[in-house]
C-alpha cells in the first residue's frame, strides 16, 4: 500500500484551541444556542470524538473548526490561525490545504467519476493535470478503490463511496481530518472498515482526527479522547483507551 508523506505538525502541540466559542442562530424570535461557550484544546496527532445526542451542537462545533461557519463570539484557533479573523478567501484556502472533511452522506458529486471527485480539490489548488492523475490514483489505491476509479458514485456501494470521500479528503495532505458521522450511513462491518482506515491515517501520518458521532461504542473503540456536548455546552471531556487494530487495548 502506498503511504502518504508525514503530516508536518509535531505530535503534542496544540492543533485546535477554542475559547468561549459560541454559535447562535436566530429562528424567528428564538435564539438557538448551537454552540454555547465551548473551550477546548486538541493536540496534534490526537484522535478526538465529539459525542452527544441529536441537536447537542457537535456538528455545529465541527463546522466552526472546519471554517465552514463563523463563530458568533469567542475564538477558534487552528494551527495558529484564528479562523474568525480570516477573510472568505483565506478560509477557502484553509479548507483546501489544512482540512480534509468526510461526511455522513459521502457528498460526492454524482456527475463526476470517482477519480474526478477525488482530484477536485487539486483543481482548486491549481495542480497540473498529470500530477493530479497520479495523486488521485495513489489516494484511491490507499483506500483500495483503484479498480473503481472510472465509475460514477451511483455505481458504488456505501462503503466504497465513503472510501472515495476519504481519498478526496486526503488528496491535499491535510493536517486535520474532520469526520461528521462517517459511519452513519454504513452497516456496522463497513463502518468498522472505514474507521480502521481513519485510525491508520491517524497513527501512520500523525494526522489530527476530530470525529463527530453519536455511537459511543465507536468512539470508545477508536478515539483517544471523548468530548461530550449537550445543548451546545461541553459537559464532559475524558481520555479513552482505544482498542488496537489487533483487538487489544492500545
Amino acid at each position: 500500500m502506498t503511504t502518504f508523506p508525514a503530516v508536518s505538525s509535531p505530535r503534542g502541540t496544540v492543533a485546535i484551541r477554542s475559547e468561549s466559542l459560541c454559535r447562535h442562530y436566530l429562528m424567528g424570535e428564538n435564539v438557538i444556542r448551537a454552540v454555547d461557550g465551548v473551550s477546548l484544546e486538541v493536540h496534534s496527532g490526537e484522535f478526538v470524538a465529539l459525542l452527544g445526542s441529536s441537536g447537542s451542537g457537535k456538528s455545529s462545533m465541527l463546522n466552526l473548526i472546519a471554517g465552514l461557519d463563523r463563530p458568533t463570539s469567542g475564538s477558534v484557533v487552528v494551527q495558529e490561525r484564528d479562523l474568525a479573523k480570516l477573510s472568505r478567501e483565506e478560509l477557502a484556502k484553509y479548507r483546501l490545504h489544512v482540512v480534509g472533511m468526510v461526511f455522513q452522506s459521502f457528498n460526492l458529486i454524482p456527475s463526476m467519476t470517482v477519480s474526478e471527485n477525488v482530484e477536485l480539490p487539486l483543481r482548486f489548488a491549481e495542480v497540473e493535470r498529470s500530477q493530479r492523475n497520479s495523486l488521485a490514483r495513489e489516494a484511491l489505491e490507499r483506500v483500495g478503490l483503484k479498480a473503481r476509479m472510472d465509475h460514477r458514485p451511483s455505481e458504488l456501494s456505501g462503503g466504497e463511496q465513503q472510501r472515495a470521500a476519504l481519498a478526496r479528503a486526503l488528496i491535499n495532505r491535510p493536517q486535520l481530518l474532520l469526520a461528521d458521522e462517517p459511519t452513519g450511513n454504513l452497516d456496522s462491518h463497513t463502518g468498522l472498515e472505514i474507521m480502521d482506515m481513519v485510525r491508520e491515517l491517524n497513527l501512520e501520518l500523525g494526522m489530527t482526527v476530530v470525529m463527530v458521532t453519536h455511537e459511543r461504542a465507536l468512539a470508545e473503540r477508536y478515539a483517544q479522547r471523548m468530548i461530550f456536548l449537550a445543548d451546545g455546552k461541553l459537559v464532559d471531556d475524558r481520555p479513552n483507551e482505544p482498542i488496537s487494530a489487533s483487538g487489544e487495548p492500545a
Binding site: L68, D69, E89, A92, I109, S111, L120, E126, R168, N172
Partner: protein, 469 residues
C-alpha cells in the same frame, strides 16, 4: 482554478442539463442570428451601393469647376484663396494643364446645354450632355437598346428612356407601369431628330477697327470677348435607348439626351459660362463651366484632387460623397444593430433564468465544492464559464443561422426581382468582422447575464448548501 479546468467543468455541467441548456443556447442563437441578419443587410446594402458607384465610373472621376462658377460644390473653399471674381478661368489652357498632371487618364469638358429637339415636327425641350467614348463602360449602358456611338464625331444621339417615352407620347401616368425599353426602342432606333441650338459664332463686329463709341468699345479686351450667337440646326440619328439613368446623381441638371463629345465640342454651343465671361473680357477661347477628370487608379484620386485645388479650382469627387454616405450607413448600422440586439437581450434573460435554476439544482454541489476548498471566486468563475460557453456556442450557431437566413431572403428576393425583369443583386453580406463581432458580442452579453447568478452562487453559505437535499 485554471482556465482549461474551468472550461472542462463548465462544459460537463452544461451537458448534465442538456435539454435546458440547449434551449437557452438556441435562444442566444436566434438573438445572434437576428443581429447578424440585420447587420449583414446593412453591410450588403452598403456594398451594393459602393459597387454601383464604382461601376458608374464616378469613383475615378473628379469634377472640376472654376470658383467663378458660383454654383461651386464646396463653399468652404471660398473662405480661403481668391474671391470668385479674381479666380482662375476654366478654359482650354487649364484643361491641358490638368491633363499633364500625373495619374490623369482623361480630361474632358462638361458640355451641357438645353436645346429643342424636333421629332416628327413636334418640338421637345430637354437637357443635352456630351459623353466621351470611355463612358461606354459605364454600367448605365449595360441594358441599352441599340448601340453606343460609332465614333467621337458621329452625328448620333442616345436617348434616355424617359425622353423616348416623351417622343412617342407614352409618358406613363404616376403609379402606372412603365413601358418596356425594348418596346420604346423599336420605333425610334435609326430615326432622325433635328436639334436646334444656339451657336457661338466668331465676333460679328470688330469694335477696335470701327472706332465707335469709346465708352463701350475702346477696351480691346472687351472687344475680343464679343461674339455673335447664331441659331443652327443639326440632324442626328438615334442609335441607342438607355433604360438606366447615367446622370441620376446630377438631380435636376441631368441630361436625357447624349451626344459624342468631340461632335458636341465642334458645335460650339453657347453655354452659360460664355455669357458670364463676356463681362470679364477674355481672349475668345472657349470657357468651360466644369470639366471631368478621370484618374488612372481610384486610390490616386485624393492626390490629383489636391493638385487641382492648388491650381485654384473647385473640385468634387465621389470620395466626398462617400464620406457623407459612410455617415448615413453608420446611423443605419446603429439602428439595425439596436433592433438586432433586442432578441439577444431577450435571450440573455434566458441565460439568467437557466443559471439561477442551475444554482437551485446544484446547491448541494456548490456546498461540497466550498467544503473541499473552492473559493467564492472559483464558484463565480465556474458559473461565468458556463454562461460564456453558452454565449460562444450560441454565437457560432447564430452566425450560421443568420447567414442561412440571409441566403434564403437573398434567393427569394432575386426570384422576385427576376419576375420583375430586374437583374439579380447581392444585397446580403456577412463579412469576417461581423462573424467575430457577433460571437464576441454574444460572449460578452452572456457574461453580463452570468453576473447575477455567479454572484449569487458564490455567496451561498456552505453549511446551508450542504444541508440542502
Amino acid at each position: 482554478m485554471k482556465l482549461p479546468d474551468l472550461t472542462e467543468l463548465a462544459l460537463r455541467n452544461l451537458r448534465e442539463s442538456l435539454l435546458r441548456n440547449s434551449l437557452t443556447t438556441v435562444g442566444i442563437s436566434v438573438g445572434v442570428a437576428s443581429l447578424v441578419a440585420m447587420l449583414s443587410l446593412g453591410t450588403g446594402l452598403q456594398q451594393l451601393f459602393s459597387r454601383r458607384l464604382e461601376k458608374s465610373g464616378l469613383f475615378d472621376t473628379i469634377f472640376v469647376s472654376s470658383r467663378r462658377e458660383l454654383r461651386g460644390m464646396d463653399r468652404r473653399e471660398e473662405r480661403t484663396g481668391p474671391t470668385p471674381g479674381e479666380s482662375r478661368v476654366l478654359d482650354e489652357g487649364a484643361r491641358q494643364e490638368i491633363e499633364r498632371l500625373g495619374n490623369v487618364s482623361e480630361v474632358y469638358p462638361d458640355i451641357r446645354f438645353s436645346s429643342e429637339l424636333r421629332f416628327e415636327d413636334k418640338p421637345h425641350l430637354t437637357m443635352i450632355s456630351a459623353l466621351p467614348l470611355s463612358a461606354k463602360s459605364n454600367d448605365a449602358f449595360d441594358g441599352m437598346q441599340g448601340r453606343f456611338f460609332t465614333s467621337d464625331t458621329a452625328t448620333e444621339v442616345i436617348l434616355q428612356k424617359a425622353f423616348a417615352e416623351e417622343l412617342l407620347g407614352k409618358t406613363p401616368a404616376l403609379g402606372a407601369p412603365e413601358p418596356n425599353v425594348a418596346e420604346l426602342a423599336a420605333p425610334l432606333l435609326g430615326k432622325e431628330l433635328t436639334m436646334v441650338y444656339a451657336q457661338r459664332g466668331a465676333s460679328a463686329a470688330q469694335p477696335a477697327a470701327t472706332g465707335g463709341d469709346k465708352a463701350e468699345l475702346n477696351d480691346s479686351d472687351v472687344a475680343a470677348a464679343s461674339y455673335s450667337v447664331v441659331s443652327r440646326q443639326e440632324r442626328l440619328t438615334i442609335v441607342g435607348i438607355l433604360d438606366l439613368d447615367p446622370e441620376s446623381l446630377r438631380g435636376p441638371l441631368r441630361a436625357r439626351v447624349f451626344l459624342p463629345l468631340r461632335f458636341a465640342e465642334s458645335l460650339r454651343v453657347m453655354q452659360l459660362a460664355d455669357l458670364r465671361e463676356i463681362s470679364r473680357g477674355g481672349n475668345g477661347q472657349p470657357v468651360y463651366s466644369s470639366i471631368s477628370v478621370r484618374v488612372k487608379d481610384p486610390s490616386k484620386i485624393q492626390g490629383v484632387e489636391d493638385a487641382i485645388k492648388k491650381m485654384g479650382f473647385t473640385t468634387f469627387s465621389i470620395l466626398d460623397a462617400s464620406r457623407s454616405l459612410q455617415q448615413v450607413f453608420k446611423v443605419l448600422y446603429a439602428f439595425l444593430g439596436i433592433f438586432g440586439s433586442l432578441a439577444l437581450a431577450v435571450a440573455s434573460i434566458g441565460i439568467v433564468n437557466t443559471l439561477v435554476m442551475a444554482i437551485l439544482e446544484r446547491r448541494r454541489e456548490i456546498g461540497i465544492m466550498k467544503a473541499i476548498g473552492a473559493s467564492d471566486g472559483d464558484v463565480k468563475k465556474l458559473f461565468f464559464a458556463e454562461a460564456g460557453a453558452m454565449g460562444i456556442v450560441g454565437g457560432i450557431i447564430g452566425v450560421g443561422l443568420g447567414w442561412a437566413i440571409g441566403q434564403v431572403i437573398n434567393f427569394g428576393t432575386n426570384i422576385y426581382l427576376k419576375s420583375q425583369s430586374i437583374p439579380p443583386e447581392h444585397f446580403w453580406a456577412v463579412p469576417f468582422w461581423l462573424v467575430g463581432f457577433a460571437i464576441g458580442f454574444a460572449f460578452v452579453v452572456s457574461l453580463i447575464s452570468g453576473l447575477y447568478p455567479a454572484g449569487r452562487a458564490a455567496r451561498l453559505d456552505p453549511v446551508q448548501a450542504l444541508r440542502y437535499e
